[in-house]
Amino acid sequence: MPPNADPESSQPVVKVVDLHKSFGALEVLKGISFEVHRRDVVSIIGASGSGKSTLLRCVNHLEVPTSGEVRISGRPLGFRLDGGRRRPDSLAGINRIRMDIGMVFQQFNLWPHMTVLQNVMEAPVYVRRLPAAEARDIAMGNLAKVDLLDKRDECPARLSGGQQQRVAIARALAMQPKVMLFDEPTSSLDPELTAEVLAAMRDLARDGMTMMVVTHEMGFAREVSTNVIFLHDGRIEEEGDADHVLTKPRSERCRQFLSRVLR
């Protein structure tokens, strides 16, 4: 396919413009703007409390931004332009766009009353309304991708944390999203299990998935990401290609942060 044949392909997959988010009097995000293009893998780093998770949750509207814009493949998320005026979008409108965004959580958040396969099939069947057989094929394909096909009939509680997180990745992939968001996907795992989840994410990146990853894994950030965003106190303090931000940052704060976490 020639470049730009699809009108959406020229658009950034994620575009965030002057995003602000406050919880009561506390302003967590103080004007964030960036773009994520197809096949980018963007790592978001920063100290705890810098607003990383809130930013990621705003990108799929799990948190409602106080002001600013999020656009997914050019389509506004959470608001409509009605004769030039901005109005809140309906949940149905938001969900049409959310179908293009996969998310993986720190706590896995698998549904414990369903088997592994049912977890992965749930959204294809009930949201996309695919026939069960087709949804099953998609689910099996995604479970194979994270190497857990043999666990498909287990309950999530019987899996290790690493396996649960890989199921959560398969569950998000089953909606065939254009971008995957990872919110500290390995922070509640011990090092051994962290490695298997990072391996699954590395495979995804190699397959060309567009990804945004909030992480403390600097090794993964350097090795896999194309871009790194360093957040400090609700603002982007430094951003650029991964090598540049992680090895020779301009910002003093970013240098300090890296020296603390890299040691």
């Binding site: 959310r98 179908m99 009930y126 949201v127 569950r171």
Partner: protein
Amino acid sequence: MPPPTTAGFDFESLRQVFDFSYFWSYREVLLSGLLVNFLVFGFAALLAAGSGFVVCLLRVSRSRAARGIGTFYVELFRNTPEYVFLTWVHFVLPLVLTRLLVTRVNFAPTLSAVLALGLCYSGYFAETFRTGILSIPRGHIDAGRAVAMGRALIMRRIILPQAIRRVLPEALNNSVSLFKATSIVSLIAVPDLMYNVVNVVQYEMRPLPLYSSAAFLFFAILFMLSALVQALTERWRTRAWG
């Protein structure tokens, strides 16, 4: 030698407490009364669980007005004694309805009993269900939102299947209490066990053995029901998902 004291322990009364023969000779009418207790219990439990569920949905609704109505309902019924509400439903509500509808309204005692106990306990059921719904971790819901599930779908597919299992023991305990409360319906002349016992007592003039037997019977039934609930609850606790 002082004469033997007559103010000793009254063994005769104690013997009568355990004399089931009167109860046994009237077993047919008395057990048909017990059947009425079960009937009132059954319909009241259905009403309580059904309207309790609806009110619980109001209580967890996003609309402030709906939540307000739900809270008012729950507080009203949880804080009105069953007996007071029973007499109100039976004697006052028909009058109110008669005025409002301009047609003569009368409730059969059994209908009043079902309505009153059902509504009274729906407040408890609503709170039990609400606890179950609120006990589902936020993350399970976020995961549903993230895959573009709507509110109704999240409720139906993620929250309720987990919440129902969590609240079953408590809901069964509510039901046992409801069965206990059916013992007051004789006060508005529902022909239940106590109503028939009172009639027999008036005819036989033997209150001691008859009332005692009725008490033993209620105790035995409720004790067995509670034990059953406990056993079921224990099994649910020890069994993980799957």
